[in-house]
């Protein structure tokens, strides 16, 4: 049981580039989430999904897109990277209240 896996672990992007952060869970959880954590701050919810084909915005969705074509995968897309998107990104999944987090992707936009 791998739990929640995220790739890549680190990435440096130039302003205006695009990329997809991958997230996969093997626990058959319906709920999946993307968070970002800026230095000295708590986690902010970007997008979430309550099941395959259903996604919705969280607190800070601007500049991001998501899709949920399968129960297992929940990729996060950055279309035009900006320095403000420099952060650590965490994916999580849950059955009910307890969310299981991946190890994170550290993204730097220069």
């Amino acid at each position: 049981n791998a739990g929640v896996t995220q790739t890549p672990k680190f990435r440096i992007l130039k302003i205006g580039q695009s990329m997809t952060l991958q997230c996969t869970q093997d626990m058959n959880h319906n709920y999946m989430y993307w968070y970002r954590q800026d230095p000295g701050m708590g986690l902010k919810l970007i997008y979430y999904s309550v099941g395959a084909g259903i996604t919705d915005k969280g607190e800070v969705p601007n500049g991001y897109n998501v899709s949920r074509s399968t129960t297992e995968d929940f990729p996060l897309r950055l279309e035009l990277a900006a320095p403000s998107q420099t952060s650590v990104y965490f994916c999580a999944s849950s059955y009910l209240a307890e969310q299981f987090f991946g190890p994170g992707t550290r993204l730097t936009v220069l």
Partner: protein
Amino acid sequence: DQQVKQNSPSLSVQEGRISILNCDYTNSMFDYFLWYKKYPAEGPTFLISISSIKDKNEDGRFTVFLNKSAKHLSLHIVPSQPGDSAVYFCAASRGGSGTYKYIFGTGTRLKVLA
């Protein structure tokens, strides 16, 4: 507007003593609260939760207390161990345990001194 606040960025405690981490919230509609622990370069891991119908929940060395009238919760760790050194986040939600949208505090870094 920060709805969940952890006003102490850091806390140092001697091994074997009690660690008390505090969390305040402003939204009276919050009815489910969780504590997460985070080590560097890892994702947060769930520690303990409490529903607003309770005022205390225990799990081993960890106890969470909820004071609804004060909109305050606290996590007690007894006895504290060096392996407890981590950042602790509280999170709050509306809609009970079946919800999926949490507001996180900014975290408290706990250092347990051997």
